[in-house]
Symmetry: C2
Subunit: 545 residues, 2 copies
């Protein structure tokens, strides 16, 4: 039996596009003599469809796609994820299901049992868990079908569920497991996922064919890396990350084991490639081409410009340098050098005129009060107006260049440098931005050395340095990581040897700045805990604040 | 047995404040001779605590609060909601529980069974459902304790759950039901809630004491309206909406029935009072006092200014008129008349100077292209800079004045008139804003007649009218309501007699403008489906777009 894993990039709600993409893969895999082709989780609708699932019209369209796939299953088994309407009035209205079509018939529908409802996941918002577990007979083999999380109650130290659906399938003595997934990327998840899948194979001693979605859905990146395990618990093949691909596997060969191919898992390289996919799919799926951003001469906007250029092409990236009276000539020079290295269009537009105009008309309400964050914000916001004006006139999308350290402590101006349609680096701590810079510059000096070595500054008042307001990033970032990623409280962080007053100040800054993060762009997610959909905290709260 | 329902306003994460508030109520209810005092759901932490629940430090603080309440239970039964750590490693880490303390002992802990995970609710993100259901013996009575949603699987046409926890408690033959709730307001929910509670009393034929939280938690308003039902299925007493209160009830009298007090439920009055509470608590719980907003002379900003003045006091509200070359003198006059009616501080700051300055420095990148939305946005964004500057200098919070109709179709400028810390009217359709205006003006003409009768206009280009870009609001709003609140697809809406092209255009506008709503302020929620936490749709999607 030859099994094809079709690792495809689905687009949420684009039924026509998703169906056409799968039908093409059906034809191609038939040509290659495949007996089965395996698509992804909720492949008809794209994942995560979120509240679109609450529209019956949306489910009807998904069912139309299923009918087309069923009709195309002459001579090939098609395994595909799609929602199913729950026929009972009790319980949630839908199941998250995997369908098995063959010769125009539905051989089996298996609903998902474990419904991830944590971090970026909201599945129990929509779906009822399965209570029936069957296997499907095909070409003399019994196949256990599961959906993504169904395999995730094995090999965990702190299991989130009280049932284990594969245990329930094992009573039917399946010969192999096939799983359709929408398992998202983060720089730790690629390895964790392999560990969990291996724990399943070690437990059940049968081969596993695991088909994962690929592609970015706004902030969440699905990385592919579909994988086949031999029954001995070894990886037979791990497919490419961040790209569509089709893998073909003879069951007999997989049973014998032997071949072992894994993808490289260097953290910074994964982050780099994930961000490129995040950018490409945001623009591609929105039908957009062109990006704009402000280039300050600092490292964050430099890295953002490089990533945009690599993702979208130099002809589609435009940058603007907007010096104020507090900007150094060095900063403009560094920005120009980068733009010229990248071959992208740039403008230099000093902000003095609108800044003076605002100061002039605001004389009354300012009542002669001294320069403070107000004037800093007027500068940052004047820059946003300039960027948005060019963007509006020419159809660019403004990219936000904030990093995760700044985003965490609220070091940024709402409607100013926090503006933008997509945040490229806001899940990358400042110390990681430097690592990403080194990775970018590994073959040639794309980003000028001066942008890397000079101390970070917002240049919004005379001689300003980030370190005036914030601790050094190599102290700040580990504390932020313990709080945000590891969810430790102040006592536990202080117990690790950090200064108590500093820890309390930083945690307070994170919490009181939730109102800013509420109003910022979606953030390309690369870490196990990103700002945005996966981190939901109250705005009006008093915890640690 | 005398039962006190303490309908209190909790503050998320403010353990000290919440505990002190409950301890005061314990003392007061003891003085009144109460045998039991009933607080609310997750009263120690405030509801919804969201991802703060993932911090062990947060749970430890909740447990400290419980210890204080337990110690205070000498001579009185205290019923209070708080999270419990799940002792098993399988399943979610917490339960959502109700505790019964008496004489320094824990008489019972009942976990919640039905975990709402829809609209604004995310409970299965954090909590494991109960599997054990017991009653508690107190003063010779058996009491069935439940938490909020546990009563919501009775009397529904489309039940979301497959179990009914009160059925499981009934095997122990309880004499009365006590429920602690965090049931949120919307203008339909006050009645729906009574209907569901009545269905429980009709089914179980025992009295019900239902204690609801009150107070706003950023966007979500808890309206109180705690209620006592006699076993005959009639309301014995419904407590006040939108205010803290303590009600005292003799069980014998409730058993006999007779007294029937319900609160008025006029839609617009409820919306009005809910918004006032939303404003008061946003400012009060954040430790803020002063609001600022732009006053255009139109109806939305006029209503927002009135609501802010009623909620915060005229000394705490400041408005700014910012005419452009396209503003009519009438608009400024109407805005001034309103500010003088309200007795609030105002400034008139024309935006010509910064607008000209931007046009000047942008000449190059604009390449002589004609006036379009770019220039409109520069005006709207210049106003936001002015408002934010005064706000930054003097410590105001900018109130957003957008209505739900505009928010739905994206008729507004990001970082311009969509800016603000809190959206006051963005869950109120334009046609409802007029109803709210009539309610505000019912005793005296607070809002000038001219603001009400003139056709809506953004005044961003010569002779602009909302109706140039949008259908009339009395056509637009019903279509939006069918799509947003009733989740009907285009076919169903068109089948109701609306023009097909218009319906498709409006639904497309709603969907393609999700990126704007993603970046706007929290919206005070008054309808069954508000933008924000209760409505989660993809930004990069292609459904109906």
């Amino acid at each position: 039996m030859k099994i094809a894993i079709a690792q495809l990039n689905y687009h949420i709600g684009n039924f026509e596009g998703n169906t056409a993409r799968m039908l093409r893969a059906v034809e191609e895999t038939k040509k290659h003599g495949a007996d089965i082709v395996v698509f992804g989780e909720l492949a008809t609708t794209g994942y995560p469809p979120r509240d679109f699932l609450e529209f019956r019209d949306f489910i009807r369209k998904a069912n139309d796609s299923l009918e087309q796939l069923k009709a195309a299953s002459q001579g090939i088994g098609i395994i595909v994820g799609s929602p199913t309407i729950n026929p009972r009035i009790e319980g949630k209205d839908l199941f998250n299901s995997v369908y098995f079509f063959h010769n125009g018939e539905t051989l089996h529908v298996q609903h998902k049992t474990l419904l991830p409802t944590y971090d970026i996941f909201d599945e129990y918002r929509y779906f009822e868990p399965a209570t029936e577990h069957k296997v499907v007979d095909f070409m003399g083999k019994k196949i256990a079908l599961t959906v993504c999380e169904d395999l995730w109650n094995v090999g965990n130290e702190n299991p989130m569920y009280t049932v284990c659906p594969m245990d329930l399938q094992m009573v039917h003595q399946p010969d192999l497991m096939i799983n359709v997934s929408a398992s998202p990327f983060d720089y730790k998840h690629t390895q964790e996922r392999l560990d969990v899948l291996k724990a399943n194979v070690d437990r059940y001693k049968i081969p596993l064919f695991y088909s994962n979605n690929v592609g970015a859905q706004t902030e969440v990146i699905f990385d592919g890396g579909s994988v086949v395990f031999s029954p001995d618990g070894k990886v037979f093949d791990e497919m490419v990350y961040f790209e569509e691909a089709i893998g073909y596997y003879e069951l007999d060969e997989v049973m014998r084991g032997g071949r072992q191919q894994e993808q490289p898992k260097d953290k910074i390289r994964l982050i780099h490639d994930a961000i490129l996919l995040g950018l490409r799919d945001y623009f591609g799926k929105m039908g957009l081409k062109k990006a704009i951003l402000g280039l300050s001469g600092g490292i964050d906007s430099a890295v953002t410009a490089v990533m945009a250029t690599r993702a979208l092409g130099k002809e589609n990236v435009r940058v603007v340098m907007m010096p104020s009276e507090f900007s150094s000539q060095h900063s403009v020079d560094d920005a120009v050098a980068l733009a010229e290295n990248l071959g992208i269009q740039y403008d230099i537009i000093p902000i003095k005129k609108p800044y003076d105009a605002f100061n002039d008309i605001l004389k009354g309400p300012m009542e002669g009060k001294p320069f403070d964050v107000t004037e800093e914000n007027i500068q940052a916001r004047s820059r946003a107006i300039i960027l948005m004006a060019i963007s509006n006139k020419h159809g660019h999308i403004l990219l936000n260049t904030t990093n995760k350290s700044e985003m965490a402590v609220g070091y940024g101006t709402l409607y100013g440098d926090l503006a933008g349609g997509l945040s490229v680096l806001a899940d990358v701590y400042k110390t990681e931005v430097y690592e990403l810079t080194a990775y970018i510059n590994k073959d040639e000096q794309v980003i000028p050395q001066n942008s890397i070595t000079k101390p970070p500054s917002a240049e919004l008042r005379p001689n300003q340095m980030d370190s005036d307001s914030l601790p050094e990033y190599d102290i700040l970032d580990p504390i932020l990581r313990l709080y945000i990623e590891h969810r430790l409280g102040p006592r536990e962080i202080i117990a690790k040897g950090y200064d108590e007053a500093l820890v309390r100040r930083i945690l307070r800054l994170v919490n009181i700045n939730e109102f800013k993060r509420h109003q910022t762009a979606p953030v390309i997610r690369v870490s196990p805990k990103a700002f945005g959909v996966g981190r939901r905290v109250p705005i009006v709260g008093k915890y640690l604040s």
